[in-house]
C-alpha cells in the first residue's frame, strides 16, 4: 500500500505536466513541461523496476531530445525572446477525439481481467545480453537507421554547397 501511496502523487504530477505540454501557449514552456513529464515518467519506470531505462530516459530524453527541441525552436523564429507562440485550434474536436480514445482504451484495459504477475525484469546486464544475442539483428538495423537519420538531417538542413 505504501508503494501506491508513493505512486499516486507521482501520477498526478505526471498527468498535470502532460496537460500543460498540450495547453500552454508558450512553446518554450511547453518544452519544459515535456521535460517535466519525461522525468516523472522516469520515476514511474523506477516503480516498474526498470532503473536502467529510467536512467536512459533522463540522459537521452531530458538531456538530448529536450535540448534538440530548444535548438529547433531557437532556429525557427525571427525574434530573440523566450516567448514563442504555440497556438491551438479546434480544441473541441481535439477534446472529443482524445476523450473518445481515452474512454476506448480505459474500457479495453478494465474489461480485461487482471493478468500477469510480478516477474524478474533483470538487470542492465540481462538487457545487454538480450541486445547482443536474441535481438542482434534489430540492434544492427537500428544502428543503420540512426546513421541514415544522421545523414538525412544533414542533407535536409544544409544550406548550400560549401
Amino acid at each position: 500500500m505504501s508503494e501506491f501511496a508513493l505512486l499516486f502523487p507521482v501520477t498526478v504530477f505526471l498527468i498535470l505536466s502532460a496537460i500543460s505540454v498540450v495547453t500552454t501557449r508558450n512553446l518554450v514552456h511547453s518544452v519544459f513541461w515535456l521535460a517535466s513529464t519525461l522525468i516523472t515518467t522516469a520515476a514511474v519506470y523506477v516503480f516498474l523496476g526498470a532503473t536502467f531505462i529510467a536512467a536512459i530516459q533522463l540522459l537521452l530524453y531530458t538531456g538530448g531530445v529536450i535540448t534538440l527541441m530548444l535548438f529547433g525552436i531557437m532556429l525557427s523564429r525571427r525574434h530573440s525572446s523566450t516567448t514563442v507562440p504555440n497556438p491551438s485550434e479546434h480544441q473541441l474536436l481535439g477534446a472529443v477525439t482524445a476523450g473518445g480514445v481515452l474512454v476506448l482504451f480505459l474500457t479495453a484495459i478494465w474489461r480485461t481481467p487482471a493478468f500477469g504477475r510480478v516477474v524478474d525484469v533483470g538487470t542492465s546486464l540481462d538487457v545487454g545480453n538480450l541486445f547482443l544475442s536474441e535481438h542482434l539483428l534489430a540492434f544492427e538495423a537500428l544502428s543503420v537507421l540512426l546513421l541514415a537519420a544522421m545523414l538525412g538531417a544533414i542533407v535536409l538542413t544544409r544550406t548550400s554547397d560549401p
Binding site: H90, V101, L104, A108
Partner: protein, 622 residues
Amino acid sequence: MSIEHLALVAWLTPLAVAALLLVVRPVRHTGKPAAALSVAGATVSLGAAIAALVQSSARGGEAVALTTPWLRRAGEVMADVGVYVDGTSVTMLVVVTTVAWAVQVFSLSYMSDETPQGLGRYYAFQSLFLFSMTGLVLAPNMLQFFLAWELVGLCSYLLIGFWNHKPSAAKAALKAFWVTKLADIGMILALLLQFTHTGSFGWDAHAAELLHHAHVTYLGMPLVAAVALGFFVAAMGKSAQFPLHIWLPDAMEGPTPVSALLHAATMVAAGVYMVVRAFPIFEHAHGVLLFMAILGAFTALMAATIAVVQTDIKKVLAYSTVSQLGYMVSALGAGSVMAGYFHLTTHAFFKALLFLAAGSIIHGVHSQELGEMGGLLKKMRFTSTVFLIGTLALAGIPVFSGFFSKDLILEALLHGTHHQPLLWLPLVMLLAGVFLTAFYMGRVLFLAFLGEPSEKVSHAHEGGLAMMLPLGVLATLAVVAGFGGSWLSGLYGVEPYHFAVTPVGLVGLTLALAGLGTSWVAFGRGAPAPWLATFTPIGDFIRAGVVDRGFAWGYRVALSGLASAVAWFDRYVIDALVNLFGVLALYLGDRARTLQTGNVGDYVYAVIIGVVVFAAFSQVML
C-alpha cells in the same frame, strides 16, 4: 568392371564431353580438337557398351540395375534414376553407341568445311545426343525415359537446325519440334494417369499388373489401355507414324550424318524401343495393339509409295525410314516383341549405312538430286559397294540382315491372324510394302550408280579414311546382324528364335526380287524408261503430299477459325472487362483525390481515426 558400372561409363562419358564442350567456350571453338574429344568420348562409350554386352551375354541377359532415389515426396520416393541393364537395353546400347561412333567418325570428314566454332557446336550437340540417347536406353523407369526422350527431341531440334542460316532448316527444326511435342502430350497424360492410379512410373510386368487391376476407365477405355494409347501417341510422333510422320522428311535439312544417326537409326526408333520396354503394359491393351498393327502397316505402305517418286536421295531414304518404322510398329502390334526389336536392330545398321553412303555421295557430287547423279559406280567403287549392301539388306534379300528381320515380321503377323483375323489387312499391306521397298531402292541404286556419269559426277571421288572406316564397319554389321537372331532372342528372354523357311517368307522374298526386277526394267539403264511416263499422273498425285496438305488445310481452317473466335472473345469480352475496371479505377480515383487536402492536420486526424477504429475493432472481436 561390372555390367552396371560399364553402362554408367557408356552413359556419362558423353555427358562429360558435352558439358565440357557446351560450357567452356574456348574448348568448343577450337573445332578439330573438340571433335576429336567428342569422338574419343564416343569411343569410350562404345567400348564400355561392348564390354557390357559381352558380360551380359555371358549371364544370359540377366537384369542388373544401379539406381539412386530421386524426387522424394513426403518421404516417399517418386522414382529412381540410374541405369537398368538387361538383354534389351544392353543390345540397344551397343546399337546406339556403334552408330553414334560411326557417325561421329564419318562427320570428321563430312563436316570438315565447317568453321571451328560450327564444328565444335556440332560435336557438342552430338555428344549431348549420345548422352541423352544412352540415358533413354538405360532408363530404369518411365520418368527417366521421358526426360531423356525430351532431351533427344531437343538434340533433334538443334541438329536439324544446325545450319540455322538456312530458313528451310530452321523451319524444319521447328516443325520437328512442334510435331513431336504435340505427340508428347500423350506421354505426359499417360504418365500422369499411371502415377495417379498406381503411384509408380514402372513399365515392368508388376507395374502393368497394377494398371490392369485398377478399376478405372477413361474415355470408355480401361486404364491400362488409356495409358498404352498415350504412350503410343508419343511413339507415333517420335517414330514418325501416320499422320505425324510429316516432320521426318523435312528433318533431312540437317547434316546427312545427323540424319543417319537421329532420323534413321536411333532417335526415331526410340518410340519402338519404348513400346518394347513397356510391352507388359501394351500386352493388356489389345485394342491398342490392333490399332498399332494396322496403323504401322498403313504407314509402311504409304511411305513406301511416296518414296518411289522422290527425286532427292535423302528424301527417299527418309520415307524409307518412315516405312520401316511402320514395319516395326506393326510387328509389335501383332504381339511380337522379338520381330519388332530385331528389325529395329538390323534397320539401325543398314539404314545408318545407307545414309552415310548417301552422305559420301553428296560429299563427292555436291548434290542430293538423283537426276544429277548416275555412273557413280565408276567413280566411287567403295561407296557403291556398301550402298549395294545396304540396299540389299533393306530390300530383304537373303544373307543380308534385313531379310531375316523382315521375314520374322511377316511371320509374326501371319501368326497373329490365327486369333485376330483382322491382321490379314496389315499383312497384305506389308507384303505390298516389301515389293515397293525393293522397287524404290532399286531405283535409287540404278539411277545413282549406273548410266553415264554427269558433269557433276565426273569430279566425284571417295572421301578419306574417316568416311570409309565407318562405312566398312556398318556394312559388315548390316551383313552379319541378321545371323545374330537366335542369340538375341536368348538375350531378350523371349521364345528362342530359329530361322526357318516359311511360305510367307517365300512370298516376301519373291515380292522383293520382283521389286528389284521391276526397277531394273524401269531404271536399269541409269535413266527412267520411256514407258514410265504413263504413270506420271499417279506420281504427281503422290508427290502432291496429301497428308501435308491436310495438315495445312486443318491449320488454316480449324486453327484460324478458332483463333478468330478467340480474338472476338478477347476483344469484346475480356478487353471489355479490363476496360471496365480501368474506367472504374479512373472514376474512383477522381473521387478519392479530393481526400488529399495537403493539410498535415487532416492527415494526423486520419491516422488517429485509424488507431481508434483498430482499437475498437479489437474490442468488438474479443
